[in-house]
């Protein structure tokens, strides 16, 4: 298992290098001079040239890239062009907000999505299933930002139950999380349902039935366990989409998280911030995907056995030998 995790961690490195390269290249081809942007419209060409020199913008691409990576390794993400503050500390400060927003939303989606999907699948061919599925598709098709506005309009403007924006108290989190979670809940519902229906058709379910297992146990133990594993994979991918959604959500609800920071930087072309945001958010995404893979490997024995470390394997063969020597027919296992 450790070997598996180690291997996956190593695989992360080329991906991260790739991301930095892509972002650097993107900014390279962008029209507009950052030095000009920093100094404002009426800066003299001399001052711009001086600043360019100071920022090292005149160096060749690879030199700049190398310098960026070098700084990156020292935890230096550069300073914001706009505020002049170090990007790293700003991000550390903002990070918890985004994490809370995304995690709560993800939690909500899973907690509501999976049971709903199971419910729909167990009521297949009835109006309950049809209704649930249509509603789910409805929610998937709804623009999240629009839903957020509608929520604000109802709960904050009309009924004044919840704050319009900001997160002064827990109440402030309700609308952003619900708005972000809705579409993903629906996706999980759909996924769970179709997995359940797929699994229910498998031969091993018939075997379970032929063994005399009750329908309830079949559905909630045999089928659900098999159906949920792929959903976990989907949840990993969803985390990335939620980070994307957080850009808008945090802007709408004025949550001082990474999303809002990124949006502000994008609007003002604050390159160091844009670069770091993309990198950090992608890194976060990659870590989550890694976690999901590990969880997946823990749940699914087929993957687990591929990555059982050598030592464990040896231990097991020894055990086998022992058993054979003893001829232990009724050993209580490993």
């Amino acid at each position: 298992m450790l070997k598996f995790i180690g291997k996956r961690l190593l695989m992360l490195i080329p991906v991260l290098i790739g991301i930095t390269l892509v972002v650097q290249l993107l900014l390279e081809v962008t029209p507009g001079d950052p030095a000009k942007l920093m100094l404002g419209m009426n800066a003299t060409p001399e001052r711009v040239a001086a600043l360019r020199e100071e920022l090292g913008l005149n160096d060749p691409f690879l030199v700049r890239y190398g310098r960026y990576i070098w700084n990156l390794c020292h935890g230096d993400l550069g300073n914001s062009f706009m505020t002049g503050r170090p990007v790293f500390s700003e991000m550390i400060q903002r990070f918890p907000y985004t994490l809370v927003l995304v995690c709560i939303s993800l939690f909500l989606s899973v907690v509501f999505g999976i049971p709903l999907g199971v419910f729909a699948s167990t009521h297949q061919h009835t109006w309950k299933d049809n209704l649930a599925m249509f509603a789910a598709l409805f929610c998937v098709s709804m623009p999240a930002f629009w839903f957020a506005l509608m929520l604000i309009q109802r709960f904050a403007v009309k009924w004044r139950l919840l704050p319009l924006s900001g997160i002064a108290s827990w109440k402030g989190w309700v609308l952003p999380c619900v708005a972000l979670a809705l579409g993903f809940t629906a996706t999980i519902t759909r996924q769970t349902r179709s997995n359940m229906l797929e699994v229910i058709r498998q031969d091993y379910i018939t075997t379970a039935r032929a063994k005399g297992v009750s329908e309830v146990t079949i559905k909630y133990r045999h089928a659900l366990k098999n159906a949920v594993t792929p959903v976990i994979m989907v949840v990993g991918g969803m985390f990335g989409m939620m980070l994307g959604g957080a850009l808008i959500s945090e802007t709408i609800f004025s949550i001082p998280g990474l999303g809002q920071y990124t949006m502000q930087a994008l609007n003002s072309r604050d390159y160091p911030v844009i670069q770091s945001s993309v990198l950090v958010l992608s890194l976060l995404f990659a870590i989550v995907i890694l976690l999901v893979d590990i969880i997946f490997a823990l749940i699914d024995p087929r993957i687990r056995s591929q990555y059982i470390s050598k030592r464990q394997k040896e231990a097991r063969t020894d055990q086998k030998k022992e058993d054979q020597e003893k001829g232990a027919a009724h050993s209580e296992g490993r």
Binding site: H125, Q202, D203, Y204, T206, T207, A208, R209, A210, K211, G212, V213, S214, H222, K225, N226, T229, I299, D300, P301, R302, S305, Q319, K320, D323, Q324, A328, A329, H330, S331, E332, G333, R334
Partner: protein
């Protein structure tokens, strides 16, 4: 003569799909005696698996409709007992072994769990006792018991089928429905598994319905035979009766399409044509289109059962004698 353990009378089953109605089983009669093995022979799609599944009442509920018939098991009609009672029978008194061991086991549970699960359902056992019994079952089918905690993917096809058999026999059922238990296996493994089943059957005194399309297996393994064709049993009797006095043209065809070492024939004689579409069965005898002896009446009316000898029953005009 021992008593009848299972008796099926006039069973009719249809599958309803979006497009059509499939007549899967059309009024079959079958019986299995205690301790005996019945070979149910026929081509793919003849309704063999449907018959087996209907005995356990595990047909897909929404599509399959049992139109008529009764399935008497130890005096009870299985088609009319409650679902709860039925659950007590499944896996306990009647167990089933499925065709494809690759898919018949739950991939994310240990094989030990899958064997002990059926034990725990039907017997009041503690976890430990169930485990002990399951280990015994594993040893019985030739798998060392230390593999209890392993998962299906760690086993080969033949070993998986052994596990499936262990699940089937775990509660020492009266009747075992074996649905082509060896078709998905390599030829060499097939023999091993069959051998083992035969031994276990003797040991545990279980009756077996062995579904197969291999007449060789039937000859070695079974006491009586039923030949299924297009949802009907066209001929049934003891192995001797069928093998020595073939009566139905279809059975005859089955034998003719077998390679035989004791006769010098250049070619096998396959039965011409295909089985009729079960959604549109012919009006007369279901075999009439392919029968080399078909007469006019064969196309118009269905032949009735004719008992040639006690126990040897044939559905054909030819054996009934001309009028």
């Amino acid at each position: 003569m021992s008593e009848e353990l299972l008796e099926i009378k006039d069973l009719r089953i249809e599958y309803h799909t979006d497009e059509s109605v499939i007549h899967a089983v059309n009024g079959i009669d079958l019986s299995v005696k205690k301790g005996q093995t019945l070979g149910l022979v026929g081509e793919t799609g003849a309704g063999k698996t449907t018959i087996a599944k209907s005995i356990l009442r595990i047909l897909p509920g929404l599509q399959a409709k049992i139109l008529s018939g009764e399935i008497r098991f130890e005096g009870k009609d299985l088609l009319s007992v409650s679902e709860r009672e039925m659950r007590k029978i499944r896996g306990n008194k009647i167990a089933m072994i499925f065709q494809d061991p690759m898919t018949a086991l739950n991939p994310i549970e240990t094989i030990g769990f899958q064997i002990s699960e059926t034990l725990k359902i039907h017997n009041k056992l503690t976890k430990k006792e169930a485990r002990k019994k399951a280990c015994e079952m594993l040893e019985l089918v030739g798998i060392p018991s230390y593999r209890y905690d392993e998962y299906p993917h760690q086993f080969s096809g033949g070993m998986k089928q052994r596990v499936v058999i262990a699940i089937g026999l775990a509660c020492n059922p009266e009747l075992l429905l074996a649905d082509e238990p060896t078709t998905a296996l390599d030829v060499t493994i097939q023999a091993q598994v069959l051998e083992m089943m035969a031994e276990l059957k003797e040991k545990l005194d279980t009756s077996v319905i062995l579904i197969t399309h291999d007449l060789g297996v039937v000859a070695n393994f079974c006491d009586s035979v039923a030949v299924a064709y297009a949802g009907e049993i066209v001929e049934r009797g003891t192995v001797e009766q069928i093998f020595d006095h073939v009566a139905h043209p279809y059975t005859e065809g089955l034998f003719a399409s077998l390679p035989r070492l004791d006769r010098r024939e250049r070619r096998l004689k396959p039965i011409k044509g295909l089985m009729p579409d079960p959604a549109a069965l012919p009006e007369g005898c279901s075999f009439c289109d392919r029968c080399p002896y078909a007469e006019e009446r064969c196309f118009k009316t269905k032949p009735a059962d004719v008992e040639l000898e006690p126990g040897h029953i044939v559905k054909c005009f030819r054996v009934a004698g001309g009028e």
